[in-house]
C-alpha cells in the first residue's frame, strides 16, 4: 500500500515535467519550413500561450514580396482560438476567422485542415498577402477561455482552469510577381 502511495506521489511530482514539455514550442519548429515557390521567412514566431489571453504579433510586410501566413496551435486548445488580422496602414480588418469552423471549408477557418479539391488531399489553411505598398499587419490571436465548471456548493471556490500550449505563426515569402525590381 505504501509503495503504491509512493508511486502516486512520484507521478504527481513528475506531471509538471510532462505538461511543460507539451507546452514548449520546439515541437512546432517542424512547421517552419519553405514551401516552393515560397521561402521560409525568419519573422516566423512561436509563443507559449494560455487560455483566456489575447496575443499580438506585429508583422512588417515589404512591397516587392508576396507573403503566405499559416498558423498552428497546440492540441490542448482544441482550435478554440480566434484570429484577426488588421492592416495597420488602412486600419481595416482583413481577416477575422475562428480556429475551426463547422463546415471546415477552405477560407472558413485558420487551424483546421480542409479537403483540397485540387489535389484530393487534406490541406492546412494558408492566407496569401500581397502588399501594394509596405505595411504592417497586426495579428491578434485570442485564445478562448476554458469553460469553467460551476460549483454546486457556494462555499467551495473552484480553481480557475487554464490550459497552456504553443501557438506558431509561420511566415513564408517569395518575390512579388509584379515586382518593379
Amino acid at each position: 500500500m505504501k509503495t503504491k502511495l509512493i508511486y502516486i506521489i512520484a507521478l504527481v511530482l513528475l506531471f509538471p515535467l510532462f505538461s511543460d514539455a507539451q507546452s514548449r514550442c520546439s515541437d512546432f519548429f517542424k512547421y517552419r519550413r519553405p514551401e516552393a515557390p515560397y521561402e521560409y521567412n525568419n519573422q516566423s514566431s512561436s509563443a507559449v500561450c494560455v487560455t483566456g489571453q489575447t496575443y499580438e504579433f506585429i508583422l512588417p510586410l515589404t512591397k516587392g514580396k508576396d507573403y503566405r501566413l499559416k498558423f498552428y496551435a497546440a492540441a490542448v486548445f482544441n482550435n478554440k482560438i480566434k484570429f484577426k488580422i488588421i492592416d495597420e496602414s488602412t486600419h481595416e480588418t482583413v481577416l477575422d476567422l475562428p480556429g475551426e469552423s463547422a463546415n471546415r471549408e477552405e477560407g472558413s477557418c485558420v487551424l483546421a485542415d480542409y479537403y483540397n479539391e485540387d489535389n484530393g488531399k487534406s490541406s492546412h489553411p494558408y492566407f496569401d498577402f500581397y502588399p501594394a505598398t509596405s505595411t504592417t499587419l497586426k495579428i491578434i490571436i485570442e485564445v478562448l477561455p476554458v469553460p469553467q465548471a460551476e460549483s454546486t456548493d457556494a462555499n467551495i471556490k473552484r480553481q480557475k482552469k487554464m490550459n497552456r500550449g504553443c501557438v506558431t505563426v509561420v511566415v513564408l515569402d517569395k518575390p512579388a510577381e509584379n515586382s518593379s525590381f
Binding site: 519548429f29 521561402e39 525568419n42 496575443y55 506585429i58 505595411t135
Partner: protein, 299 residues
Amino acid sequence: MKAPFKLITVVFAFGMLYLVSACGEDANNNKNGKDSLNQNVTEINDDNLITYLIPSPKDMFAFTKEGNLKYSGEVLNAKENADKYIDTKSQEIGFGIYSADLAYTAAFNQTNTAGEYLKVVESLSDKIGLNSVFTESLVSRFKKIANKDSLLKVTNDTYYDIVKFLEDNDRNTSLSLISVGGWLESLYIVTNLQNTYQKDNDVIQLIADQKNIFENIILSLQQREADPNVADLIKELQPIKEVYDGLEVIKIENPDANNTKTNKIIVGGTTKIVMTEDQYTKLKKVIADVRNKLTGSDV
C-alpha cells in the same frame, strides 16, 4: 522500502532540477528579473503579449541585388573588429553585424569572402553560447558550396537555426541584440551602395519603408528596457529614430487596395512613406555614425 525511497529521491532531484531550470534564464537577461522569466510565466506577463517581428538581413539583400546595386567589399565590417568585442552586448550586436555581412557576401556570391566571414561568425558564436549551431556538418556544407543559391541557402539556414536556438532557449534579449546588429548593418550596406538620392527609386523607397521595421525594433527593445544593455542600445539608436520619426506618411490612391478574396488578400496601397533628399542624407549619416560606434570602426 529502499527502492521506493530511491525513486522518491530521483523524482525529488528531477523536481528540483525542473524548478531550477524554470527559474533559470540566459546570462544576458537575468539582470532585472522582469525579463528573466522563462516560458512558464512569460505568457502571463503583460509586457510579452505583443511580439514585434523583425526581418533577417537576407530580406534586404534580396531586393538590393535585384535592384542592380554593385557589390563592394569596402562596406563590410573589418574582420579584426571582432577582437574588440569583449562584453556580451558588443558580441551579440557584432554577431548580428557579421551575420548581415555574411548574408550580403552570400547574396552576391562572394564565396571566398563569405568563407572568411563565416569563420568570424563562428568564432563569435562560441563566445555568446551559440556554438552548438555551428556543427561540423554546417561547416562542411559551407565547404561544399557549389553555386550562389546553395551559398545563400546555407547562410539562411544558419540564421534560421540561430533564431530557433535562441527562441528555444528563451534568449529573447540576445535575439533582439542580434536582430538590431543585423538590421543596422544591412541598412548601412544598402545606404552605402545606394550612394545618391533619386526620387521614385525602388531602393530609396525600400530604405524609407524600413520606418515600419525600425518602429518594431524600438518597441521590441522597449519591452526589455530594464536590461541596461538594451537601455543603452535604445539611446544609441535615438539619432536614427529622429530621422525616421520625421518621415511623412502620405495617403495615395490605389485601385487594387482592399481587393480581398477568400485567402488572397491585398494589403497596404493606401499610404506611402516619403523620404526627401535631405532626410536621406541625414539618415545615411546617422546610420553610419551609429553602426561605426557599435562596430568599433570609429576608434
